[in-house]
């Protein structure tokens, strides 16, 4: 099924009717599974209705794979239960942590990429894949802080994670751009070094300057159109690794569905013919 997916869109309640009516070839929709972990009601009803016409991707934000603890068993079971119900084409999570000692922090938090952390995260990814009975994709996060104690580059860390667990990767091109600006490295180098084979999905999103620090600190805000520089990085990676399911990710400041659908169509054009798009 994954091979048939082209470009897709974040699914928000505001878009349920438009998503249900969408007929774009290869289009798909991505949800945060945490918003659908309910016993019943109209949310699940909408998701099942849209699932009956389109492929769905479940993009989790709460497994906390980079916490120094196994994923919460109850949460993992809820995820597995939703996956059985929705039969998503893709399931993804983040190289980050959010739950720690019974507190959930609604963000994707950083950690020092040590060998010990790698062992823990590899175990957490394996455990998740064992319960879900499928391969998941792990996403590169956005970086803001200067963090000491890294023993691995992010690229090598992700490569090793795929080797140890067989997991795939989700390349978020906007996160690369934001991190490159904030931590002062060339985004092109990161994009060119990113392992291509394990990439199961790509994310494109908008960002915003920090309200206090301005352009010196970019925030991965998902509240704006995809930036020109991010489109260029996207075309660059697609030319190198070939077409992959690509999401236009939007969580805030939601425009009309047609506005997002135009961005989705642009990504689909690039997937269809990356060389023409570059010309």
């Amino acid at each position: 099924m994954t091979a048939l997916l082209t470009a897709g869109l974040s699914l928000k309640p505001e878009y349920y009717e438009a998503a249900l009516a969408s007929t774009a070839a290869g289009s798909w929709f991505e949800v945060h599974p945490e918003n659908y972990m309910v016993a019943g009601g109209p949310r699940l009803g909408w998701l099942e209705a849209i699932r009956s016409r389109h492929a769905i991707s479940m993009h989790g934000v709460a497994l906390s794979l980079a916490a120094d603890a196994a994923p919460d068993a109850a949460h993992l079971n809820r995820l597995a239960e939703l996956a059985r119900r929705i039969e998503p084409a893709l399931i993804s999570e983040h190289l980050a942590w959010s739950t720690w000692r019974d507190a959930y922090h609604p963000d994707l938090l950083p950690f020092p990429r040590t060998t010990a952390a790698l062992a823990r995260i590899a175990d957490n990814v394996s455990r998740t894949q064992d319960v879900l009975q499928r391969r998941i994709a792990v996403e590169n996060p956005s970086h803001y802080l200067a963090l000491d104690g890294h023993e691995w580059t992010e690229i090598d860390f992700l490569k090793e994670l795929t080797l140890r667990t067989g997991c795939g990767l989700l390349l978020d091109v906007n996160n690369v751009y934001v991190s490159a600006c904030n931590r002062d490295f060339p985004a092109e180098d990161y994009i060119d070094a990113f392992p291509g084979d394990p990439v199961m999905e790509i994310h494109l999103a908008g960002h915003a300057p920090d309200p206090n620090l301005g352009e010196r600190l970019l925030i991965d805000s998902h509240d704006a159109p995809v930036a020109t520089e991010v489109w260029a990085l996207y075309e660059r990676v697609i030319r190198r690794i070939g077409a992959r399911p690509t999401l236009i990710e939007r969580d805030d400041n939601l425009p009309a569905f047609s506005v997002l659908d135009a961005e989705r169509a642009r990504a689909a054009d690039i997937l269809r013919d990356p060389l023409a798009a570059a010309a």
Partner: protein, 272 residues
């Protein structure tokens, strides 16, 4: 023994980092750990802190829209910020965040002048519970009408999974809540008396009606497992003038029940 258990590294530096980072996100005082202190001193640390706190406050505001509308955006977000510090989310489904918000408002000094506010919060919470509850077919009016006369008072009407009701002695909380639950303009005086509410979701959409004291007592009895006879008695003890036929009709229309047991019609079908 689960083979996975042997592969897990013991908690160490990463655990220590996460404990310090988590505290630095929610607490104001300077971190004890020097490395975490240095991280918190970076302007970029505020991105995480702001994102975490804002997401919690946004979730609370989304889950308590009538409270927010009553007190205004600024007051709500200031109160929510206090709540967030005292009650971090314990699970990631933020639709369920703030289960203790009504109780918090009861003890929250600045809310003392609005004694009905915790009740309004309780009804906002009931709306969420009704919205996400398990799907159930509401009990059909005909099923009750078909009951053989001899069985009528022996059946137990089981409340629908989505049904939530409560009685407020001191204030017209239902009127205040229902007028503030939507964006429609509010006009007209509110008659000041005790009031109850019933929220239900017989199908997709959460519905609500005012429910009198006898109605609340009736549903309380049903929820506790009383037969129809017991529930009727409870309603009449609450209000000797209660109109039981009218009440049954109102509750069935609202989709307050899911099943009755024993199901008189099933018995008939099985025996035929």
């Amino acid at each position: 023994m689960n083979p996975l258990e042997t592969r897990i590294p013991a908690p160490g530096a990463l655990a220590e980092f996460q404990t310090g980072f988590s505290r630095a996100l929610f607490d104001d005082e300077a971190p004890k750990n020097a490395d975490i202190g240095a991280l918190k001193a970076q302007p970029a640390f505020a991105v995480y802190r702001n994102t975490v706190i804002k997401a919690c406050i946004d979730a609370l505001q989304a889950n308590y829209p009538a409270v927010s509308r009553l007190v205004g955006d600024e007051w709500f977000r200031a109160a929510a910020a206090v709540y967030v510090r005292e009650h971090k989310p314990q699970q990631p489904m933020l639709l369920q965040y703030g289960t203790g918000f009504a109780d918090f408002l009861t003890g929250f000094g600045p809310a003392a002048e609005l004694p009905y506010l915790p009740g309004v919060a309780r009804l906002d919470r009931y709306w969420t519970e009704a919205h996400v509850s398990a799907d159930q077919q509401p009990l059909d009016r005909a099923a009750v009408a078909d009951l053989a006369a001899g069985n009528f008072f022996r059946v137990w009407l089981r409340p629908h999974a989505a049904a939530r009701w409560t009685w407020f002695d001191d204030a017209p909380v239902y009127a205040i809540w229902s007028r503030n639950r939507s964006d429609t303009p509010i006009d007209g005086e509110i008659d000041w008396h005790g009031e109850g509410a019933l929220l239900s979701r017989p199908r997709d959409v959460v519905q609500w009606i005012e429910l009198d004291r006898a109605g609340c007592a009736f549903l309380d009895a049903c929820a506790a497992g009383a037969t129809l006879a017991g529930a009727a008695k409870a309603a009449l003890e609450s209000d000797a003038n209660a109109d039981l036929a009218g009440l049954m009709s109102t509750l069935l229309d609202a989709g307050a029940f899911a099943r009755m047991s024993p199901d008189d019609r099933n018995h008939k079908e099985k025996s035929s």
